[in-house]
Protein backbone atom coordinates (compact mmCIF):
# COMPACT_ATOMS: atom_id res chain seq x y z
CA UNK A 1 0.00 0.00 0.00
CA UNK A 2 2.60 2.53 1.05
CA UNK A 3 4.76 2.00 -1.97
CA UNK A 4 1.72 2.57 -4.12
CA UNK A 5 1.12 5.89 -2.43
CA UNK A 6 4.78 6.65 -2.94
CA UNK A 7 4.58 5.67 -6.58
CA UNK A 8 1.54 7.90 -6.94
CA UNK A 9 3.41 10.79 -5.44
CA UNK A 10 6.34 10.36 -7.78
CA UNK A 11 3.89 10.04 -10.63
CA UNK A 12 2.73 13.57 -9.83
CA UNK A 13 6.07 14.93 -10.98
CA UNK A 14 6.00 12.92 -14.18
CA UNK A 15 6.29 15.41 -17.07
CA UNK A 16 3.31 13.73 -18.67
CA UNK A 17 1.12 14.73 -15.74
CA UNK A 18 2.73 18.13 -15.42
CA UNK A 19 2.21 18.91 -19.11
CA UNK A 20 -1.50 18.19 -18.83
CA UNK A 21 -1.73 20.29 -15.69
CA UNK A 22 0.00 23.10 -17.59
CA UNK A 23 -2.45 22.83 -20.48
CA UNK A 24 -5.30 23.07 -18.00
CA UNK A 25 -3.57 26.08 -16.47
CA UNK A 26 -3.76 27.78 -19.89
CA UNK A 27 -7.49 27.10 -20.00
CA UNK A 28 -7.94 28.35 -16.44
CA UNK A 29 -6.05 31.54 -17.29
CA UNK A 30 -8.43 32.09 -20.20
CA UNK A 31 -11.46 31.51 -18.01
CA UNK A 32 -9.99 33.87 -15.43
CA UNK A 33 -10.14 36.73 -17.93
CA UNK A 34 -13.86 36.07 -18.35
CA UNK A 35 -15.03 35.12 -14.88
CA UNK A 36 -12.27 36.51 -12.69
CA UNK A 37 -11.73 39.86 -14.37
CA UNK A 38 -15.12 40.49 -15.92
CA UNK A 39 -17.65 38.30 -14.10
CA UNK A 40 -18.77 36.58 -17.30
CA UNK A 41 -20.33 33.23 -16.66
CA UNK A 42 -19.07 31.10 -19.53
CA UNK A 43 -19.74 27.42 -18.98
CA UNK A 44 -19.13 26.62 -22.61
CA UNK A 45 -15.35 26.46 -22.18
CA UNK A 46 -15.38 23.07 -23.90
CA UNK A 47 -16.61 24.67 -27.12
CA UNK A 48 -13.58 26.95 -27.43
CA UNK A 49 -11.29 24.20 -26.17
CA UNK A 50 -12.60 21.96 -28.97
CA UNK A 51 -12.48 24.68 -31.60
CA UNK A 52 -8.80 25.29 -30.82
CA UNK A 53 -7.90 21.61 -30.69
CA UNK A 54 -9.62 20.71 -33.96
CA UNK A 55 -8.31 23.78 -35.77
CA UNK A 56 -4.73 23.10 -34.86
CA UNK A 57 -5.13 19.40 -35.60
CA UNK A 58 -6.70 19.95 -39.04
CA UNK A 59 -4.12 22.55 -40.00
CA UNK A 60 -1.13 20.41 -39.06
CA UNK A 61 -2.03 16.81 -39.87
CA UNK A 62 -0.93 15.23 -43.12
CA UNK A 63 -3.51 15.28 -45.94
CA UNK A 64 -6.18 12.65 -45.37
CA UNK A 65 -9.62 11.60 -46.56
CA UNK A 66 -10.83 11.19 -42.99
CA UNK A 67 -11.56 14.82 -42.34
CA UNK A 68 -11.07 18.33 -43.65
CA UNK A 69 -7.44 18.90 -44.66
CA UNK A 70 -5.03 18.07 -43.28
CA UNK A 71 -2.96 20.90 -44.43
CA UNK A 72 0.36 19.71 -43.02
CA UNK A 73 1.26 23.19 -41.82
CA UNK A 74 3.83 23.85 -39.08
CA UNK A 75 2.58 23.48 -35.51
CA UNK A 76 3.12 27.17 -34.80
CA UNK A 77 0.69 28.02 -37.58
CA UNK A 78 -1.69 25.44 -36.18
CA UNK A 79 -1.62 27.04 -32.75
CA UNK A 80 -2.03 30.50 -34.23
CA UNK A 81 -5.00 29.18 -36.18
CA UNK A 82 -6.43 27.75 -32.97
CA UNK A 83 -6.24 31.17 -31.34
CA UNK A 84 -7.79 32.92 -34.32
CA UNK A 85 -10.63 30.46 -34.89
CA UNK A 86 -11.68 30.24 -31.26
CA UNK A 87 -11.40 34.01 -31.00
CA UNK A 88 -13.61 34.50 -34.05
CA UNK A 89 -16.08 31.96 -32.72
CA UNK A 90 -16.18 33.89 -29.45
CA UNK A 91 -16.72 37.12 -31.34
CA UNK A 92 -19.69 35.62 -33.17
CA UNK A 93 -21.19 34.13 -30.02
CA UNK A 94 -20.35 37.22 -28.01
CA UNK A 95 -22.11 39.55 -30.40
CA UNK A 96 -25.30 37.58 -29.83
CA UNK A 97 -25.12 36.88 -26.12
CA UNK A 98 -22.99 39.60 -24.55
CA UNK A 99 -25.87 41.42 -22.92
CA UNK A 100 -27.40 38.39 -21.26
CA UNK A 101 -27.23 38.40 -17.49
CA UNK A 102 -24.98 35.85 -15.90
CA UNK A 103 -27.30 32.90 -15.36
CA UNK A 104 -28.74 33.20 -18.86
CA UNK A 105 -25.25 33.53 -20.32
CA UNK A 106 -24.39 30.30 -18.52
CA UNK A 107 -27.28 28.45 -20.11
CA UNK A 108 -26.54 29.97 -23.52
CA UNK A 109 -22.83 29.15 -23.49
CA UNK A 110 -23.26 25.57 -22.33
CA UNK A 111 -25.74 25.12 -25.15
CA UNK A 112 -23.32 26.51 -27.71
CA UNK A 113 -20.58 24.20 -26.45
CA UNK A 114 -22.93 21.27 -26.87
CA UNK A 115 -23.80 22.34 -30.40
CA UNK A 116 -20.11 22.52 -31.25
CA UNK A 117 -19.63 19.05 -29.84
CA UNK A 118 -22.63 17.72 -31.78
CA UNK A 119 -21.26 19.21 -34.96
CA UNK A 120 -17.87 17.61 -34.43
CA UNK A 121 -19.61 14.34 -33.68
CA UNK A 122 -21.86 14.37 -36.72
CA UNK A 123 -19.99 16.13 -39.50
CA UNK A 124 -17.60 13.45 -40.67
CA UNK A 125 -16.23 15.55 -43.53
CA UNK A 126 -15.02 18.11 -41.02
CA UNK A 127 -13.89 16.13 -38.04
CA UNK A 128 -14.11 12.42 -38.84
CA UNK A 129 -17.04 12.22 -36.39
CA UNK A 130 -16.73 10.03 -33.33
CA UNK A 131 -13.63 8.32 -34.72
CA UNK A 132 -11.77 11.54 -34.09
CA UNK A 133 -8.63 13.06 -35.54
CA UNK A 134 -5.42 11.14 -35.02
CA UNK A 135 -1.75 11.31 -35.94
CA UNK A 136 -1.64 14.94 -34.85
CA UNK A 137 2.03 15.93 -35.03
CA UNK A 138 4.04 16.40 -31.86
CA UNK A 139 6.66 19.16 -31.91
CA UNK A 140 9.29 16.86 -30.40
CA UNK A 141 8.37 13.83 -32.45
CA UNK A 142 11.84 12.28 -32.70
CA UNK A 143 12.60 12.09 -29.00
CA UNK A 144 12.12 9.13 -26.68
CA UNK A 145 8.83 9.28 -24.79
CA UNK A 146 10.20 10.57 -21.49
CA UNK A 147 12.24 13.34 -23.00
CA UNK A 148 9.46 14.22 -25.36
CA UNK A 149 7.04 14.70 -22.48
CA UNK A 150 9.59 16.70 -20.56
CA UNK A 151 10.29 18.93 -23.55
CA UNK A 152 6.59 19.45 -24.07
CA UNK A 153 6.13 20.32 -20.42
CA UNK A 154 8.85 22.92 -20.75
CA UNK A 155 7.09 24.33 -23.81
CA UNK A 156 3.78 24.44 -21.96
CA UNK A 157 5.45 26.00 -18.94
CA UNK A 158 6.89 28.75 -21.12
CA UNK A 159 3.46 29.37 -22.61
CA UNK A 160 1.85 29.46 -19.14
CA UNK A 161 4.41 31.89 -17.79
CA UNK A 162 4.22 34.06 -20.89
CA UNK A 163 0.43 34.10 -20.80
CA UNK A 164 0.44 34.85 -17.12
CA UNK A 165 2.68 37.86 -17.66
CA UNK A 166 0.64 39.14 -20.59
CA UNK A 167 -2.69 38.70 -18.85
CA UNK A 168 -1.37 40.12 -15.59
CA UNK A 169 -0.16 43.18 -17.46
CA UNK A 170 -3.55 43.51 -19.11
CA UNK A 171 -5.16 43.21 -15.70
CA UNK A 172 -2.97 45.89 -14.20
CA UNK A 173 -3.53 48.17 -17.16
CA UNK A 174 -6.52 50.49 -17.43
CA UNK A 175 -8.09 47.74 -19.52
CA UNK A 176 -8.26 45.36 -16.57
CA UNK A 177 -9.38 48.19 -14.33
CA UNK A 178 -12.31 48.91 -16.61
CA UNK A 179 -13.24 45.20 -16.65
CA UNK A 180 -13.25 45.06 -12.87
CA UNK A 181 -15.34 48.19 -12.78
CA UNK A 182 -18.03 46.74 -15.00
CA UNK A 183 -17.88 43.49 -13.05
CA UNK A 184 -18.47 45.39 -9.82
CA UNK A 185 -21.22 47.68 -11.03
CA UNK A 186 -22.31 48.03 -14.59
CA UNK A 187 -24.38 51.18 -14.05
CA UNK A 188 -21.44 53.05 -12.55
CA UNK A 189 -19.11 51.84 -15.31
CA UNK A 190 -21.60 53.24 -17.81
CA UNK A 191 -21.72 56.51 -15.90
CA UNK A 192 -17.92 56.58 -16.00
CA UNK A 193 -18.22 56.62 -19.77
CA UNK A 194 -17.09 53.07 -20.40
CA UNK A 195 -18.32 51.28 -23.46
CA UNK A 196 -19.36 48.29 -21.43
CA UNK A 197 -20.33 46.12 -24.39
CA UNK A 198 -16.97 46.63 -26.06
CA UNK A 199 -15.02 45.68 -22.93
CA UNK A 200 -17.21 42.62 -22.37
CA UNK A 201 -16.73 41.48 -25.90
CA UNK A 202 -12.96 41.97 -25.73
CA UNK A 203 -12.70 39.98 -22.52
CA UNK A 204 -14.88 37.23 -23.92
CA UNK A 205 -12.87 37.01 -27.13
CA UNK A 206 -9.48 37.19 -25.42
CA UNK A 207 -10.41 34.58 -22.82
CA UNK A 208 -11.82 32.26 -25.46
CA UNK A 209 -8.77 32.70 -27.69
CA UNK A 210 -6.59 31.63 -24.78
CA UNK A 211 -8.82 28.59 -24.32
CA UNK A 212 -8.35 27.87 -28.02
CA UNK A 213 -4.60 27.98 -27.54
CA UNK A 214 -5.02 25.52 -24.68
CA UNK A 215 -7.00 23.30 -27.03
CA UNK A 216 -4.22 23.41 -29.62
CA UNK A 217 -1.63 22.53 -27.01
CA UNK A 218 -3.81 19.65 -25.90
CA UNK A 219 -4.16 18.29 -29.43
CA UNK A 220 -0.44 18.22 -30.15
CA UNK A 221 0.36 16.64 -26.82
CA UNK A 222 -2.33 13.99 -26.86
CA UNK A 223 -1.89 13.26 -30.59
CA UNK A 224 -5.53 12.22 -30.81
CA UNK A 225 -8.77 14.09 -30.22
CA UNK A 226 -12.41 13.08 -30.45
CA UNK A 227 -15.67 14.74 -29.41
CA UNK A 228 -15.62 12.75 -26.16
CA UNK A 229 -12.68 14.79 -24.89
CA UNK A 230 -14.86 17.87 -24.96
CA UNK A 231 -17.74 16.61 -22.90
CA UNK A 232 -18.74 19.03 -20.16
CA UNK A 233 -16.81 17.26 -17.39
CA UNK A 234 -13.28 17.61 -18.73
CA UNK A 235 -14.00 20.34 -21.22
CA UNK A 236 -15.60 22.81 -18.88
CA UNK A 237 -16.40 21.72 -15.38
CA UNK A 238 -12.95 20.73 -14.18
CA UNK A 239 -11.58 24.05 -15.43
CA UNK A 240 -14.17 25.94 -13.42
CA UNK A 241 -13.26 23.93 -10.35
CA UNK A 242 -9.59 24.76 -10.94
CA UNK A 243 -10.28 28.47 -11.17
CA UNK A 244 -12.57 28.62 -8.17
CA UNK A 245 -10.32 26.48 -6.01
CA UNK A 246 -7.25 28.49 -7.02
CA UNK A 247 -8.92 31.89 -6.69
CA UNK A 248 -10.89 33.73 -9.36
CA UNK A 249 -9.37 37.06 -10.37
CA UNK A 250 -5.86 35.93 -9.55
CA UNK A 251 -3.70 34.51 -12.36
CA UNK A 252 -1.44 32.71 -9.91
CA UNK A 253 -4.54 31.23 -8.35
CA UNK A 254 -5.72 29.94 -11.72
CA UNK A 255 -2.38 28.21 -12.30
CA UNK A 256 -2.20 26.85 -8.76
CA UNK A 257 -5.78 25.59 -9.01
CA UNK A 258 -5.03 23.80 -12.28
CA UNK A 259 -2.08 21.94 -10.74
CA UNK A 260 -3.81 21.18 -7.45
CA UNK A 261 -6.92 19.74 -9.08
CA UNK A 262 -5.04 17.86 -11.77
CA UNK A 263 -2.71 16.41 -9.17
CA UNK A 264 -5.61 15.44 -6.97
CA UNK A 265 -7.22 13.81 -9.95
CA UNK A 266 -4.13 11.91 -11.11
CA UNK A 267 -3.06 11.03 -7.58
CA UNK A 268 -6.31 9.17 -7.18
CA UNK A 269 -5.62 7.40 -10.49
CA UNK A 270 -2.52 5.96 -8.90
CA UNK A 271 -4.53 4.70 -5.97
CA UNK A 272 -7.24 3.31 -8.15
CA UNK A 273 -4.77 1.20 -10.08
CA UNK A 274 -4.77 -0.93 -6.92
CA UNK A 275 -8.36 -1.96 -7.48
CA UNK A 276 -9.55 -4.74 -9.79
CA UNK A 277 -9.87 -3.67 -13.41
CA UNK A 278 -13.56 -4.43 -13.64
CA UNK A 279 -14.34 -1.59 -11.29
CA UNK A 280 -12.24 0.92 -13.23
CA UNK A 281 -15.17 2.95 -14.56
CA UNK A 282 -16.86 3.09 -11.20
CA UNK A 283 -13.71 4.22 -9.49
CA UNK A 284 -13.14 6.83 -12.17
CA UNK A 285 -16.58 8.18 -11.38
CA UNK A 286 -15.65 8.24 -7.73
CA UNK A 287 -12.79 10.58 -8.61
CA UNK A 288 -15.12 12.95 -10.40
CA UNK A 289 -17.33 12.94 -7.32
CA UNK A 290 -14.29 13.91 -5.33
CA UNK A 291 -13.67 16.88 -7.63
CA UNK A 292 -17.29 17.93 -7.22
CA UNK A 293 -16.98 17.64 -3.45
CA UNK A 294 -13.82 19.76 -3.46
CA UNK A 295 -15.66 22.47 -5.41
CA UNK A 296 -18.53 22.53 -2.94
CA UNK A 297 -16.19 22.49 0.04
CA UNK A 298 -14.34 25.51 -1.36
CA UNK A 299 -17.61 27.35 -2.02
CA UNK A 300 -18.74 26.68 1.51
CA UNK A 301 -15.55 27.38 3.41
CA UNK A 302 -13.20 29.40 1.26
CA UNK A 303 -15.30 31.12 -1.37
CA UNK A 304 -12.45 33.37 -2.58
CA UNK A 305 -10.23 30.37 -3.32
CA UNK A 306 -6.73 29.51 -2.18
CA UNK A 307 -5.21 32.72 -3.57
CA UNK A 308 -7.85 35.47 -3.50
CA UNK A 309 -7.79 38.38 -5.91
CA UNK A 310 -5.17 40.94 -4.96
CA UNK A 311 -6.21 44.53 -4.58
CA UNK A 312 -2.94 46.33 -5.08
CA UNK A 313 -3.68 47.27 -8.67
CA UNK A 314 -3.12 50.99 -9.14
CA UNK A 315 -3.32 51.43 -5.42
CA UNK A 316 0.39 51.19 -4.76
CA UNK A 317 3.28 52.74 -6.53
CA UNK A 318 5.53 50.17 -8.05
Amino acid sequence: MMEHVGASLIYLLDPFVLAFAGIYAVMALGLNVQWGYTGQFNIGVAGFFAAGAYTSAILTTAPTDNHLGGFALPIVIGLAGAVVVSGLLALLIGLITIRLREDYLAIATIGLAEIIRLTLKNEDWLSNGTRGVFAIPHPFQGMPADERNLAYFVLVAVVVVGLYLLLERARRAPWGRALRALRERESAALAAGKNVDRFRLEAFVLGSAVMGLGGGLYAHFAGFISPEVFEPMFGTFIIWVMLIVGGAGNGKGAILGAFVIWWLYTFTTGLISLAPVKYATQLGALRVMLVGAVLIAILLWRPDGLLPESRDVGGKRK
Binding site: I43, Y104, A106, A108, G111, I115, T281, V288, L300
Partner: protein
Protein backbone atom coordinates in the same frame (compact mmCIF):
# COMPACT_ATOMS: atom_id res chain seq x y z
CA UNK B 1 -47.74 13.13 -45.38
CA UNK B 2 -50.33 14.36 -42.87
CA UNK B 3 -49.97 11.08 -41.01
CA UNK B 4 -46.23 11.58 -40.86
CA UNK B 5 -46.66 15.03 -39.45
CA UNK B 6 -49.20 13.80 -36.90
CA UNK B 7 -46.79 11.06 -35.96
CA UNK B 8 -44.09 13.68 -35.36
CA UNK B 9 -46.57 15.63 -33.25
CA UNK B 10 -47.16 12.59 -31.06
CA UNK B 11 -43.43 12.22 -30.54
CA UNK B 12 -43.26 15.92 -29.78
CA UNK B 13 -45.96 15.67 -27.14
CA UNK B 14 -44.17 12.67 -25.69
CA UNK B 15 -40.89 14.55 -25.43
CA UNK B 16 -42.74 17.62 -24.21
CA UNK B 17 -44.35 15.57 -21.40
CA UNK B 18 -41.03 14.42 -20.05
CA UNK B 19 -39.57 17.92 -20.30
CA UNK B 20 -42.64 19.45 -18.69
CA UNK B 21 -42.39 17.40 -15.53
CA UNK B 22 -38.87 18.61 -14.89
CA UNK B 23 -39.32 22.13 -16.18
CA UNK B 24 -42.00 22.78 -13.55
CA UNK B 25 -39.45 22.08 -10.84
CA UNK B 26 -36.72 24.14 -12.48
CA UNK B 27 -39.14 27.02 -12.90
CA UNK B 28 -40.27 26.92 -9.26
CA UNK B 29 -36.70 26.63 -7.99
CA UNK B 30 -35.63 29.49 -10.25
CA UNK B 31 -38.55 31.61 -9.02
CA UNK B 32 -38.28 30.80 -5.33
CA UNK B 33 -34.57 30.17 -4.74
CA UNK B 34 -33.46 32.39 -7.63
CA UNK B 35 -30.94 30.17 -9.33
CA UNK B 36 -30.80 27.92 -12.37
CA UNK B 37 -30.62 24.43 -10.92
CA UNK B 38 -28.10 22.59 -13.05
CA UNK B 39 -28.46 19.36 -11.11
CA UNK B 40 -32.07 18.90 -12.12
CA UNK B 41 -31.32 16.62 -15.06
CA UNK B 42 -29.22 14.37 -12.89
CA UNK B 43 -32.00 14.28 -10.33
CA UNK B 44 -34.11 12.80 -13.13
CA UNK B 45 -31.42 10.23 -13.80
CA UNK B 46 -31.21 9.35 -10.13
CA UNK B 47 -34.99 8.91 -10.03
CA UNK B 48 -34.92 6.60 -13.04
CA UNK B 49 -32.22 4.45 -11.44
CA UNK B 50 -33.97 4.35 -8.08
CA UNK B 51 -36.90 2.74 -9.87
CA UNK B 52 -34.54 0.20 -11.44
CA UNK B 53 -33.04 -0.51 -8.02
CA UNK B 54 -36.44 -1.17 -6.50
CA UNK B 55 -37.43 -3.42 -9.39
CA UNK B 56 -34.29 -5.55 -9.23
CA UNK B 57 -34.35 -5.67 -5.43
CA UNK B 58 -37.99 -6.71 -5.07
CA UNK B 59 -38.94 -8.02 -8.47
CA UNK B 60 -41.81 -5.56 -8.49
CA UNK B 61 -43.17 -3.94 -11.64
CA UNK B 62 -42.16 -0.48 -12.75
CA UNK B 63 -45.46 0.91 -11.45
CA UNK B 64 -44.77 -0.28 -7.94
CA UNK B 65 -41.26 1.06 -8.20
CA UNK B 66 -42.49 4.46 -9.37
CA UNK B 67 -43.53 5.92 -5.98
CA UNK B 68 -40.36 4.55 -4.45
CA UNK B 69 -38.25 6.37 -7.05
CA UNK B 70 -40.12 9.61 -6.45
CA UNK B 71 -39.65 9.36 -2.71
CA UNK B 72 -35.96 8.53 -2.98
CA UNK B 73 -35.30 11.44 -5.34
CA UNK B 74 -37.08 13.80 -2.94
CA UNK B 75 -34.88 12.63 -0.08
CA UNK B 76 -31.76 13.12 -2.17
CA UNK B 77 -32.81 16.66 -3.11
CA UNK B 78 -33.60 17.53 0.50
CA UNK B 79 -30.24 16.19 1.60
CA UNK B 80 -28.39 18.35 -0.93
CA UNK B 81 -30.45 21.34 0.08
CA UNK B 82 -29.54 20.84 3.71
CA UNK B 83 -25.85 20.17 3.17
CA UNK B 84 -25.09 22.54 0.30
CA UNK B 85 -27.72 24.96 -0.94
CA UNK B 86 -29.09 26.12 2.38
CA UNK B 87 -25.68 27.27 3.55
CA UNK B 88 -25.13 29.26 0.37
CA UNK B 89 -28.51 30.98 0.32
CA UNK B 90 -27.12 34.21 1.70
CA UNK B 91 -24.51 34.53 -1.05
CA UNK B 92 -25.14 35.57 -4.64
CA UNK B 93 -27.41 33.27 -6.66
CA UNK B 94 -24.59 32.61 -9.13
CA UNK B 95 -22.68 30.82 -6.36
CA UNK B 96 -25.66 28.53 -5.89
CA UNK B 97 -25.62 27.91 -9.63
CA UNK B 98 -21.94 26.89 -9.52
CA UNK B 99 -22.63 24.67 -6.53
CA UNK B 100 -25.48 23.01 -8.40
CA UNK B 101 -23.08 22.11 -11.20
CA UNK B 102 -20.94 20.43 -8.56
CA UNK B 103 -23.99 18.61 -7.25
CA UNK B 104 -24.83 17.55 -10.81
CA UNK B 105 -21.46 15.89 -11.25
CA UNK B 106 -21.64 14.23 -7.85
CA UNK B 107 -25.09 12.83 -8.59
CA UNK B 108 -24.28 11.61 -12.08
CA UNK B 109 -21.10 9.92 -11.00
CA UNK B 110 -22.78 8.42 -7.98
CA UNK B 111 -25.14 6.77 -10.45
CA UNK B 112 -22.10 5.57 -12.40
CA UNK B 113 -20.44 4.21 -9.29
CA UNK B 114 -23.51 2.35 -8.13
CA UNK B 115 -25.01 1.13 -11.37
CA UNK B 116 -22.10 1.25 -13.80
CA UNK B 117 -21.87 2.83 -17.23
CA UNK B 118 -23.87 0.26 -19.19
CA UNK B 119 -27.08 1.13 -20.93
CA UNK B 120 -30.01 -0.86 -19.52
CA UNK B 121 -33.78 -1.05 -19.73
CA UNK B 122 -36.52 -1.71 -17.16
CA UNK B 123 -38.01 -4.62 -19.05
CA UNK B 124 -36.41 -6.26 -22.01
CA UNK B 125 -38.34 -7.49 -24.98
CA UNK B 126 -39.86 -5.59 -27.86
CA UNK B 127 -43.50 -4.69 -27.67
CA UNK B 128 -45.11 -3.90 -31.00
CA UNK B 129 -46.64 -0.45 -31.14
CA UNK B 130 -50.39 0.01 -31.31
CA UNK B 131 -51.73 1.34 -34.56
CA UNK B 132 -54.52 3.82 -34.98
CA UNK B 133 -55.38 5.50 -38.27
CA UNK B 134 -51.90 4.77 -39.47
CA UNK B 135 -50.31 6.32 -36.39
CA UNK B 136 -48.00 4.28 -34.22
CA UNK B 137 -47.78 4.60 -30.47
CA UNK B 138 -46.36 2.17 -27.96
CA UNK B 139 -48.24 1.21 -24.85
CA UNK B 140 -45.49 2.71 -22.67
CA UNK B 141 -45.69 5.95 -24.58
CA UNK B 142 -49.42 6.17 -24.06
CA UNK B 143 -48.88 5.54 -20.37
CA UNK B 144 -46.27 8.30 -20.27
CA UNK B 145 -48.64 10.82 -21.79
CA UNK B 146 -51.52 9.80 -19.55
CA UNK B 147 -49.22 9.72 -16.53
CA UNK B 148 -48.01 13.22 -17.28
CA UNK B 149 -51.54 14.51 -17.62
CA UNK B 150 -52.45 12.96 -14.27
CA UNK B 151 -49.41 14.41 -12.56
CA UNK B 152 -50.07 17.85 -14.02
CA UNK B 153 -53.64 17.66 -12.72
CA UNK B 154 -52.35 16.67 -9.28
CA UNK B 155 -49.80 19.48 -9.39
CA UNK B 156 -52.47 21.91 -10.41
CA UNK B 157 -54.71 20.82 -7.55
CA UNK B 158 -51.80 21.24 -5.18
CA UNK B 159 -50.90 24.70 -6.47
CA UNK B 160 -54.48 25.96 -6.70
CA UNK B 161 -56.18 24.33 -3.74
CA UNK B 162 -53.70 23.85 -0.94
CA UNK B 163 -52.33 26.44 1.41
CA UNK B 164 -48.75 25.38 0.69
CA UNK B 165 -49.31 25.35 -3.05
CA UNK B 166 -50.66 28.88 -2.99
CA UNK B 167 -47.79 29.98 -0.76
CA UNK B 168 -45.38 28.50 -3.29
CA UNK B 169 -46.93 30.49 -6.10
CA UNK B 170 -46.90 33.57 -3.88
CA UNK B 171 -43.23 33.15 -3.13
CA UNK B 172 -42.38 32.60 -6.78
CA UNK B 173 -44.23 35.87 -7.44
CA UNK B 174 -42.40 37.93 -4.84
CA UNK B 175 -40.15 36.33 -2.21
CA UNK B 176 -39.74 39.56 -0.23
CA UNK B 177 -43.46 40.17 0.08
CA UNK B 178 -43.95 36.51 1.02
CA UNK B 179 -41.52 36.94 3.88
CA UNK B 180 -43.18 40.16 5.10
CA UNK B 181 -46.61 38.54 4.92
CA UNK B 182 -45.51 35.85 7.34
CA UNK B 183 -45.36 32.97 4.90
CA UNK B 184 -43.04 30.31 6.30
CA UNK B 185 -40.44 30.55 3.55
CA UNK B 186 -38.32 27.68 4.86
CA UNK B 187 -41.26 25.34 4.55
CA UNK B 188 -42.07 26.67 1.10
CA UNK B 189 -38.50 25.94 0.05
CA UNK B 190 -38.76 22.44 1.47
CA UNK B 191 -41.94 21.82 -0.47
CA UNK B 192 -40.37 23.29 -3.59
CA UNK B 193 -37.75 20.57 -3.43
CA UNK B 194 -40.38 17.95 -2.71
CA UNK B 195 -42.44 18.95 -5.76
CA UNK B 196 -39.43 19.68 -7.97
CA UNK B 197 -37.55 16.49 -7.19
CA UNK B 198 -40.67 14.32 -7.20
CA UNK B 199 -41.68 15.47 -10.65
CA UNK B 200 -38.08 15.20 -11.87
CA UNK B 201 -37.99 11.58 -10.77
CA UNK B 202 -41.29 10.94 -12.54
CA UNK B 203 -39.91 12.55 -15.68
CA UNK B 204 -36.75 10.48 -15.38
CA UNK B 205 -38.66 7.22 -15.08
CA UNK B 206 -40.83 8.15 -18.06
CA UNK B 207 -37.82 9.13 -20.13
CA UNK B 208 -36.04 5.89 -19.28
CA UNK B 209 -39.19 3.96 -20.12
CA UNK B 210 -39.39 5.62 -23.53
CA UNK B 211 -35.66 5.32 -24.26
CA UNK B 212 -33.14 3.51 -22.09
CA UNK B 213 -31.37 4.02 -18.80
CA UNK B 214 -27.94 5.54 -18.95
CA UNK B 215 -26.03 7.82 -16.58
CA UNK B 216 -26.37 10.91 -18.79
CA UNK B 217 -30.11 10.39 -19.28
CA UNK B 218 -31.18 13.59 -17.56
CA UNK B 219 -28.14 15.71 -18.29
CA UNK B 220 -28.71 15.27 -22.02
CA UNK B 221 -32.17 16.78 -21.72
CA UNK B 222 -31.23 19.58 -19.30
CA UNK B 223 -30.92 22.23 -21.97
CA UNK B 224 -34.37 21.46 -23.28
CA UNK B 225 -35.66 21.82 -19.71
CA UNK B 226 -34.04 25.21 -19.34
CA UNK B 227 -35.39 26.22 -22.72
CA UNK B 228 -38.91 25.29 -21.62
CA UNK B 229 -38.49 27.14 -18.33
CA UNK B 230 -37.32 30.31 -20.03
CA UNK B 231 -39.96 30.05 -22.72
CA UNK B 232 -42.64 29.75 -20.06
CA UNK B 233 -41.33 32.58 -17.91
CA UNK B 234 -39.31 32.04 -14.74
CA UNK B 235 -41.41 31.11 -11.74
CA UNK B 236 -44.48 30.20 -13.80
CA UNK B 237 -45.20 26.47 -13.46
CA UNK B 238 -47.97 26.52 -16.07
CA UNK B 239 -45.78 28.54 -18.39
CA UNK B 240 -43.10 25.88 -18.02
CA UNK B 241 -45.55 23.17 -19.10
CA UNK B 242 -46.55 25.17 -22.16
CA UNK B 243 -42.92 25.92 -22.87
CA UNK B 244 -42.10 22.22 -22.64
CA UNK B 245 -44.72 21.37 -25.26
CA UNK B 246 -43.36 24.06 -27.57
CA UNK B 247 -39.83 22.76 -27.11
CA UNK B 248 -40.77 19.10 -27.48
CA UNK B 249 -42.90 19.58 -30.56
CA UNK B 250 -40.54 21.96 -32.30
CA UNK B 251 -37.59 19.66 -31.65
CA UNK B 252 -39.37 16.67 -33.16
CA UNK B 253 -40.86 18.62 -36.05
CA UNK B 254 -37.57 20.37 -36.75
CA UNK B 255 -35.72 17.09 -36.76
CA UNK B 256 -38.31 15.12 -38.73
CA UNK B 257 -39.94 17.52 -41.18
CA UNK B 258 -37.11 17.65 -43.72
CA UNK B 259 -37.49 13.88 -44.11
CA UNK B 260 -41.27 14.14 -44.43
CA UNK B 261 -40.83 16.60 -47.25
CA UNK B 262 -38.50 14.24 -49.00
CA UNK B 263 -35.15 15.70 -48.05
CA UNK B 264 -32.29 13.23 -48.10
CA UNK B 265 -30.74 14.80 -45.02
CA UNK B 266 -31.97 14.93 -41.46
CA UNK B 267 -31.49 17.09 -38.42
CA UNK B 268 -32.17 14.25 -35.99
CA UNK B 269 -28.73 14.45 -34.45
CA UNK B 270 -29.19 18.17 -33.94
CA UNK B 271 -32.37 18.01 -31.89
CA UNK B 272 -30.69 19.67 -28.90
CA UNK B 273 -29.48 22.44 -31.18
CA UNK B 274 -33.03 23.19 -32.32
CA UNK B 275 -34.32 23.61 -28.77
CA UNK B 276 -31.26 25.58 -27.93
CA UNK B 277 -31.64 28.07 -30.77
CA UNK B 278 -35.28 28.48 -29.80
CA UNK B 279 -34.16 29.36 -26.30
CA UNK B 280 -31.46 31.82 -27.32
CA UNK B 281 -33.94 33.57 -29.58
CA UNK B 282 -36.28 33.75 -26.62
CA UNK B 283 -33.63 35.10 -24.28
CA UNK B 284 -32.86 37.87 -26.70
CA UNK B 285 -36.37 38.65 -27.76
CA UNK B 286 -38.48 38.23 -24.63
CA UNK B 287 -36.49 37.27 -21.55
CA UNK B 288 -39.61 37.47 -19.41
CA UNK B 289 -41.10 34.46 -21.19
CA UNK B 290 -43.97 34.01 -23.62
CA UNK B 291 -46.71 34.58 -21.07
CA UNK B 292 -44.70 36.98 -18.90
CA UNK B 293 -42.83 36.08 -15.75
CA UNK B 294 -39.91 37.52 -13.91
CA UNK B 295 -37.18 38.65 -16.25
Amino acid sequence: MLTDILQLLIYGILLGSVIALSAVGVSLIFGILRFAHFAHGDLMTAGAYFALFFMTATGASIWLAFPFAVLAAILVALAFDRVVYRRLRRTRPVILLIASIGVAFILRNAVLVIWGPDITVYESGIKPPMRFLGLRIKEDQLIIIIGTVLLVILLSLFLQRTRMGKAMRAMADDPDLARITGIDTDRVILWTWVIGAGLAAAGGVFLALDTRLQPTLGWDILLAIFAATILGGIGKPYGAIAGAMVVGISAELGAGLPGVFGADWSLTSYKPAITFLLMVAMLLWRPQGLVGGRA
